[in-house]
Symmetry: C2
Subunit: 107 residues, 2 copies
Amino acid sequence: MTMSEKPALPYYAVIFTSCRTDDDDGYAEMARQMVALGTSHPGCLGFESVNDGDQGISVSYWKDLDSINRWKQNADHMLAQKAGREKWYGRYTTRIAKVERHYSFEK
Amino acid sequence: MTMSEKPALPYYAVIFTSCRTDDDDGYAEMARQMVALGTSHPGCLGFESVNDGDQGISVSYWKDLDSINRWKQNADHMLAQKAGREKWYGRYTTRIAKVERHYSFEK
């Protein structure tokens, strides 16, 4: 899904906002792997991610809550979450939200 | 609201993902004004915004759908939206989503 695509409503968004530590060791490669793995996970509709070095917002889109729960429990993803807490993130918040309306603009 | 604060559930998130044009004229000042104005709008719980120059994700949090609708119709905000379509944004998507669960981590 690219950002201007709009799946059938309702669907779910996982909003992940984070502040990084100074430890960059392995972060970029793990982030790349998790986007690739997540995107191919059943029920995933797409990922969008922006970071400015210190802060990041990633939003992943999902067909339903079951798909989100399965992704949260994925073994590789759980290892990445653990490493994230130990090394890369000073803090983060995850919010699970049901998308009820959407509209887009394109030049 | 800072990113690690968690208002009473449920509340609403407006996820605004955008790609910028090359036209920066007036953008930073307008973005600053809209965050200040939006944050003080009745029902707004907070704003989070990250951009890397080309792409941006902004998430604002709201008490309810009525607050979001009133903010969308705010006169100054409507002028900013119009200027955004004419000058600053090549495309954007807005999604309105009900936050059902949230959790956070802090070192």
